[in-house]
């Protein structure tokens, strides 16, 4: 059976669209709440390895992802915005690289990967971080747009 070209193009569009739709709401919330700029459709804006071990997401989680999961367990009525805010406020160094999670979010390095850490001196970075509002800058009063769920 021959499939007209326009249908193939349409199918291609649908597949792309569906993968766009598959972005989990948790990542969208983190992008918005951590003030990351760039298209949420691009992994370069916030890689899955921000919280997950694998670049494709899913289990297992890295130490920062585990911190968020622990926050959920400790506060079962928290939503994702509350959990992100809580982890930032805790000023914990999940990956034990010498830089607290909130500082790494501020510096746009990976808070769950010890190989990724800010180049800036800790004291200088901390001063800049606190001057910018400290952990409170990651408070959220508004949830990011909740999209349809991922398909796995």
């Amino acid at each position: 059976m021959k499939i007209p070209t326009k249908n193939i193009l349409l199918l291609g569009f649908c597949l792309v669209f569906s993968s766009v739709q598959a972005r989990p709401p948790y990542r969208l919330q983190a992008i918005a709440q951590f003030h990351f700029e760039g298209s949420p459709l691009k992994k370069s804006t916030m890689a899955c390895t921000f919280c997950h071990i694998n670049d494709t997401g899913g289990a297992p989680w890295n130490p920062f992802g585990e911190s968020i999961k622990a926050a959920f367990r400790a506060n079962p009525k928290w939503g994702i915005a509350d959990a992100l805010q809580g982890v930032m406020a805790a000023m914990k160094d999940s990956d034990k690289d010498g830089y607290e999670d909130a500082l790494e979010v501020f510096a746009h390095t990976l808070p769950g990967d010890a190989k990724s850490k800010p180049k800036e001196d800790h004291k200088v970075l901390l001063e800049r971080f606190m001057a910018a509002g400290g952990p409170d800058q990651y408070k959220s009063n508004k949830a990011a747009p909740v999209d349809s769920s991922d398909d796995e």
Binding site: S18, K69, F72, P76, V146, S148, S149, D150
Partner: protein, 393 residues
């Protein structure tokens, strides 16, 4: 002209006229539906609603053992029976329960459950458990009764449920935007074109268009006359959608099925925050919608059916959430419903790969609504006979 050709042409007439919503196109085509003026409102709970925290087995120790962080405490449950109760956010639905107008169906699913949102939703939409069919059950209703305008989705994209290989039933996301307005200065030319003599199919399309124009104003007038008979909750997008559906019902547009959705119920983490909120929005929206219709004397015409593509696993995960499961809970409420809890409660100590085992085929629920409420032969629509408990009057 063959029926499928008729439907294709009719659909074309819709798309040619700026995606005219179903009620306008219906007026144009003068399609005759099967007898009956009953309306079914189908609500899709997207993402996989967790049935166990919806219809809570509060007397079952295994439930609390499996969910140490996210179970609904017994004292918060809205008691329905000695063993089951509703999630506390669903209090607005208790008036339906108290008056025998709320039916809850337990452990609903299908053979060989699929945990993918996309695949499972396609199965619920088509009624084909192999997932192969690309024809939706509501689309098939339109084809069967010969009325391509009998159903409308309120949303931006028409779901598979309202599609067939030949038809894509309309989606509306703003009723007021759907008006037939010719560009200024083109009215006369349009009249001339419409006045040209035509034959056969061309005449049919022209006639449909003329009817559409003449009826557009009337329908819009009806819509503009609508005055909500109830207060809808603010900051609730789902309730806002239902208000628009109430306008459609009140405008007497002749539609048999209205479809919309709420989501996302995909609560992998922090379930209590998200599901509590969503069930509250769902319940308060339905409550306002039915109050509105009742106040306009239309409540007896409308039955609401709510489903989700699957339930969730029995045990919570380590993010205070739940992952994709199998059997779930369906709701049916409003007119024509015989209230109660139908089906066996899940046996939480006899699971299938950690999931609630499905016991009621969802196609049986569709079939009962088709046969008893819409008065449309279910075997024709579903392709076989399916059964369900007698949750309809």
């Amino acid at each position: 002209m063959k029926r499928r050709e008729f439907l294709k042409i009719s659909s074309l007439a819709i798309s040619l006229t700026t995606g005219m919503p179903a009620f306008l196109a219906r007026a144009a085509a003068q399609a005759q539906s099967m007898a009956g003026d009953k309306i079914l409102v189908v609500i899709q709970l997207s993402g996989g609603n967790d049935g166990l925290n919806t219809l809570v087995p509060y007397a079952n120790g295994a439930y609390y053992a499996a969910r140490p962080n996210i179970a609904i405490p017994k004292q918060e449950v809205l008691t329905l029976s000695s063993s089951l109760g509703l999630h506390p956010s669903m209090k607005p639905l208790m008036r339906f329960w108290d008056t025998g107008k709320l039916a809850l169906l337990e452990s609903v699913g299908y053979p060989n459950p699929n945990r993918s949102h996309f695949s499972s939703m396609a199965i619920w939409h088509s009624g084909d458990v192999t997932g192969a069919s690309k024809e939706g059950w509501i689309g098939r209703i339109a084809e069967t009764i010969g009325d391509p305008f009998c159903a409308t989705n309120f949303g931006s994209v028409t779901p598979l449920a309202l599609r067939t290989n030949e038809l894509i039933l309309p989606s509306i996301d703003n009723l007021d935007k759907f008006q037939l307005k010719l560009p200024q200065g083109t009215e006369k030319a349009f009249e001339q074109i419409m006045g040209l003599p035509r034959q056969n199919d061309a005449e049919f399309v022209a006639q449909a268009t003329r009817h559409m124009i003449s009826n557009t104003a009337k329908v819009q007038q009806n819509l503009s006359k609508y005055k909500a008979g109830a207060s809808y909750p603010e900051n609730n997008k789902f309730a806002a959608k239902l208000k628009e559906l109430a306008r459609l019902v009140a405008a007497n547009t002749g539609q048999r099925i209205l479809y919309t959705d709420i989501g996302s119920f995909d609560t992998h983490a922090g379930q209590r925050a998200d599901q509590d909120r969503l069930l509250g929005e769902f319940s308060s929206g339905i409550d306002a919608f039915m109050k509105d219709l009742d106040s306009q004397g239309l409540g007896d015409k409308v039955m609401v059916l709510a489903f989700s593509e699957f339930g969730r696993r029995v045990a919570e995960n380590d993010s205070a959430g739940t992952d994709h499961g199998q059997g779930g809970v369906m709701f049916v409420l409003g007119a024509g419903v015989k209230g109660g809890i139908y089906g066996d409660s899940p046996d939480l100590e006899k699971l299938n790969q950690g999931d609630v085992v499905y016991k009621q085929d969802f196609r049986g629920v569709y079939a009962r609504v088709l046969d008893n409420w819409l008065k449309i032969p279910s075997k024709t629509i579903m392709g076989a006979e399916f059964t369900a408990p007698a949750f309809t009057v």
